[in-house]
């Protein structure tokens, strides 16, 4: 369905939504938000592209394959950060006790493992939303039912 208003508006708004999502993820240890909410915002912007244009335009941004790789990689990175703490001489998922650089409290690059885990969680949640969306839409298309999501 061709809708010039929806397409133009989403094209204008999507970069700002993505920037805001990245901001919420990166500032997870400083301000309200974090990996879950920032990832949801970022994933919603990718869903908005697919909804307002079409599935191919959305897949051009993040392909379903790379989304599922990012999805598994986020969970794996979280677990490996915990294992890295064991290698560095702490308990599993330890932060300061394992020797992660804490930095100056209040700086952007501070709080050691929390910052790293927030990045992984954000990537994971964003790609989870995208993967969920694509799988449900593709399942609908295969059954032969008409697409009602565009526009």
């Amino acid at each position: 369905m061709e809708d010039q208003i929806v397409r133009l508006t989403s094209r204008l708004v999507v970069p700002f939504i993505q920037l805001y999502g990245i901001y919420v993820i990166v500032h997870g240890h400083l301000s309200p938000g974090g990996g879950f909410s920032g990832g949801a915002i970022f994933g919603a912007s990718l869903v908005l592209i697919a909804v307002s244009f079409n599935l191919e335009a959305g897949a051009k941004q993040v392909s379903p394959q790379s989304a599922s790789i990012l999805e598994s990689g986020g969970a794996l990175g979280f677990a490996l950060t915990g294992l890295a703490a064991v290698v560095m001489g702490g308990s599993y998922l330890a932060n300061r006790a394992a020797g992660f650089p804490i930095g100056v409290t209040g700086d952007l690059f501070s709080s050691g493992a929390i910052f790293i885990i927030t990045l992984f969680l954000g990537a994971k949640v964003a790609s989870t939303i995208v993967t969920l969306f694509y799988n449900i839409i593709e399942g609908e298309k295969k059954d032969g039912t008409p697409e009602k999501h565009s526009g």
Partner: protein, 112 residues
């Protein structure tokens, strides 16, 4: 007091069975649901009042998180310091739940 309740249940059973013809299976369902509702209502009645100072949630844990959270974890956001440092296991479980959910969706939708 307790045998009054038993007598009430027996009379209720007789009325439902003889006058309305309710089956034994439906009666059993009714009584089990009633028992569950009774347990839940009892648990809610026993809960401490909301926001009271003497509640068990106001223990040394929350004071420790508020006073030492920023020092011990380096995160100004106390929620982040709790979910990603003090209780990172819990968040790992949450991420695993997300992973299991998406795996289930893919397994269900890709199969047909």
């Amino acid at each position: 007091m307790s045998y009054l309740g038993i007598i009430f249940l027996i009379i209720l059973t007789l009325i439902l069975r003889l006058m309305f013809g309710v089956e034994t299976r439906a009666l059993l369902t009714l009584y089990i649901l009633g028992l569950i509702i009774f347990i839940f209502a009892f648990a809610v009645a026993e809960m401490p009042p909301f926001g009271s100072v003497t509640n068990p949630v106001f223990n040394e844990m929350s004071a420790r998180f508020l006073e030492m959270g920023a020092v011990e974890t380096g995160a100004v956001n106390i929620v982040s310091s709790v979910i990603l440092d003090y209780r990172a296991y819990d968040t790992l479980g949450e991420a695993t739940v997300l992973f299991a959910a998406i795996a289930a969706v893919i397994a269900t939708l890709k199969s047909h």
